[in-house]
Point group: C2
Chain length 92, copies 2
DNA sequence: ACTTATACCGGTATTAGTATCACGGTCATG
DNA sequence: CATGACCGTGATACTAATACCGGTATAAGT
């Protein structure tokens, strides 16, 4: 086996991750945020919907900068399960 | 063109990024750190040497956790150029 | 000298991330 | 209803990330 396919857990984590990003985007449009982060809108959509569950580090970093999020909090929120994500949502 | 190849700047950023990780690893072996982060040693080596210039976000997050690094500082250090990386190195 | 451990390197295989294109839905306006 | 602008979506194309394998080099321990 040369590259292990993503596990269901990783895909679920990707969905949580995308949900956090979408929630952080708020009223702003995909296109605006994607442009601010230097991505294509389709890429942002895939990340938000969980269809790209493990995006590149610098992609996430640019996105977090565009959204005003902390990478550490973001990683903690979706690494530790849905409860952490909920807390993240409360805290902002 | 469907996926733009990595620019030389991105590859250089990857080299800086890898250098920071290698410096943070210190005396510990690649194998130990890779195991702690849940990666293969080859992957860690590629990231450290800059041959994988844009690793996945959760890969970096696991690595940062294994090394005790902040993702935000890490991103800032290699996004803003070599001087920021040097400052990061001083600060630890 | 032999073994062991670590790291580097090249090649290979397979999956996944990212961008471009073309399409459907929505809403405002004529 | 027609037209257009904006937003999201599906299909497709192509590159990069990740893992496994074998080989090489160097240093430490026996």
């Amino acid at each position: 086996m040369v590259r292990v396919p993503l596990t269901p857990e990783e895909r679920q984590r990707g969905e949580r991750f995308g949900a956090l990003l979408r929630q952080a985007r708020g009223e702003r449009s995909m296109i605006e945020v994607a442009a601010a982060a230097g991505l294509s809108a389709e890429t942002l959509r895939k990340i938000e919907t969980g269809r790209a569950p493990t995006p590149a580090f610098f992609t996430v970093a640019a996105l977090a900068a565009a959204l005003g999020l902390s990478l550490d909090e973001l990683a903690a929120a979706c690494a530790e399960g849905p409860s952490a994500a909920a807390e993240f949502r409360r805290a902002g």
